[in-house]
């Protein structure tokens, strides 16, 4: 639930709304500024860095999960 909570906290939405299908297109709270904050929060929480292409890809919770898994990050540690 770590990823879900991080997304919820950054977007200031209830964690119950966070699922893999939640995307930047259908979440009013997911603004461009919050996208920047989310990338930064993810890098800090998972001790990793995203390159430009990875950052561009991450426009849904599912996409975020896929990018993190591809980097070998343990998601719910």
């Amino acid at each position: 639930m770590k990823l879900e909570k991080l997304v919820a906290d950054t977007l200031a939405i209830p964690v119950e709304r966070v699922s893999d299908s939640l995307s930047i297109d259908d979440c009013d709270e997911w603004t461009s500024m919050r996208q920047v904050a989310l990338i930064s929060a993810l890098e800090s929480a998972y001790a990793t860095e995203f390159d430009i292409m990875e950052s561009i890809e991450m426009d849904s919770v599912g996409a975020i999960r896929e990018v993190l898994e591809a980097k070998g990050v343990e998601l719910d540690g």
Binding site: S32, Q35, V36, I52, S55, I56, D59, A63
Partner: protein
């Protein structure tokens, strides 16, 4: 030589393009190409549907401004039969839609659901079927109303701006002449389509027979760059905050499209020097434009800054159909030199404010719009120093908060900032700075930066940390909540 536009209204131009090249791509919506033939067929279907519901010349038609074929087709269809398009912000609460409908006396609405008090409802989900009885009638005259547009209302209640077909076409003429847009251009327009900046860029593309890619915002960089590569986009129309976001999130990745992108145009808010320099660096082949205007008279000055030294206040020479004067803010008399109120004349200005004779009389005189902007002319170019109301008088000096914002925005510690006028019991006016920090918060380093870059009287006396700078939907700083927060009447939220 000035290019001649193929009609006296946007709808007339699109009809002409549909006749000349029905198979050419007019729009790309949701990844799907819409030809001029299909777009015009949808527009004529909307005309017939509106007419069948009793909508006629001069009637107001509310249009929920989504990046969609129905919205664009309904705009064309309504204005074609002489009705007045009233685009409204996507996602506007129902109560606000009802209020707007009542305010303008709407006869019809293209909206998610029927609007109470509005007789005719058009579903926004799809264009109507081809009619049995197409509407045939006289096209509107240049002097007739085409649109009612809401101002962004960064200060006070939004006004409803009346724009004639002639004014709309004059703005398009200005954009065409200033940018040199080609008829095979593919423009990306991700900004709100109820706002004059994006609406005019959409219309300019269609009038020129070019292609316009509609995208709802830039938050999804995947879709932005997907559109850039998938549709071979050749021009971008973005507000400064959208450009700053792309810069911050993707660094120099936009440079991948250098050589493909012919020009980038921004408007609606001051364009920071850092953003200009970034664009010059990543897109050295592109023409870079920043335009100045207001809903009451948009795109009246345009600056190409691709290859010139920076002065953030310069917005360029008046466009083809515009005239600029500087007058004394108090007397209204022309000023031979120095800064004063910017007055915009020419054929692109509004007809007035709907339902507000007092505001119209205060702003529109002899066909000229008396703005609330402070500026001056030098060597034929206009320099804008912010809003007259916002200018603070500190120690006898006129200080523009916008100028202070731009200077402080260059500090590496600052992600974004906004400056507003406050009050001080001793000096009268003061400046307050609201800061969104970048990598770390460092008050002392920021203070040192400000002392180094600004004259003492320009250094804000109050600095507050916020999570985000409030902006209107088109990216302009919304100073109302900042002023209220300063007065202890609210908080600036994230």
């Amino acid at each position: 030589m000035a290019r001649v536009l193929p009609g006296t209204s946007v709808a007339a131009c699109v009809a002409r393009r549909a006749e000349e090249r029905p198979g050419a791509a007019a729009l790309v919506v949701g990844g799907e190409e819409v030809s001029y033939g299909r777009l015009w067929a949808a527009a004529t279907s909307f005309s017939a549907l509106l007419a069948s519901k009793g909508v006629g010349r001069g009637d107001r038609v509310l249009l929920h401004a989504r990046h969609s074929l129905p919205y664009v087709a309904a705009y064309l269809g309504a204005t074609r039969l002489g009705a007045v398009a009233v685009p409204y912000e996507e996602g506007l609460p129902e109560a606000s839609v009802r209020e707007l409908a009542e305010r303008v006396g709407a006869a019809a609405a293209l909206s998610p659901s029927p609007v109470p008090g509005v007789a005719a409802w058009l579903s926004e989900d799809e264009a109507p079927a081809e009619p049995d009885a197409p509407w045939e009638g006289l096209p509107p005259e240049a002097s007739e109303l085409a649109e009612l547009l809401l101002t962004t209302g960064t200060t006070g209640r939004s006004k409803v701006v009346e724009l004639s077909h002639g004014a709309v076409m004059s703005v398009i003429e200005n954009i065409v002449e200033a940018t040199g847009i080609e008829d095979d251009n593919v423009s990306l327009v991700p900004m709100p389509l109820n706002h004059v900046f994006a609406l005019r860029r959409l219309q300019t593309g269609l009038v020129m027979g070019a292609t316009v890619v509609l995208l709802n915002g830039v938050a999804s960089l995947k879709r932005v760059f997907g559109a850039l590569s998938g549709n071979r986009v050749t021009s971008l129309s973005l507000v400064p905050s959208a450009l700053a976001y792309i810069q911050r999130a993707t660094k120099d990745y936009l440079g991948t499209f250098d050589g493909q992108i012919r020009f980038v145009e921004s408007s609606s808010a001051p364009l920071p020097a850092a953003t200009r320099q970034w664009l010059r660096t990543v897109l050295p082949s592109a023409r870079l434009y920043n335009s100045y205007g207001c809903t009451e008279s948009t795109a009246c000055c345009m600056l190409e800054y691709s290859h010139r030294a920076d002065d953030g206040a310069c917005v360029g020479a008046p466009c083809a159909t515009a005239r600029i004067e500087i007058v004394d803010p108090r007397s209204g008399e022309p000023l031979a030199e120095g800064a004063g109120r910017i007055v915009i004349g020419g054929s692109a200005v509004m007809s007035g404010y709907w339902g507000d004779e007092e505001a119209t009389a205060a702003t529109l005189r002899d066909g000229r719009v008396f703005t609330n902007d402070l500026g001056y002319l030098r060597d034929g170019e206009l320099y804008v120093r912010g809003r007259i109301d916002d200018v603070a008088i500190i120690g006898g000096h006129n200080v523009s908060p916008v100028e202070v914002e731009e200077a402080i925005g260059a500090c590496p510690l600052v992600a974004e900032c906004a400056c507003v006028k406050g009050s001080d019991p001793i000096t009268g006016d003061s400046l307050a700075l609201f800061v969104v920090w970048g990598e770390r918060k460092d008050d002392e380093a920021l203070a040192a930066f400000m002392r180094e870059r600004l004259e003492p009287f320009k250094v804000p006396s109050v600095v507050r940390t916020v999570d985000a700078i409030p902006r209107t939907y088109n990216g302009k700083v919304d100073r109302k909540p900042l002023v209220a927060a300063l007065a202890g009447e609210g908080e600036v939220g994230a």
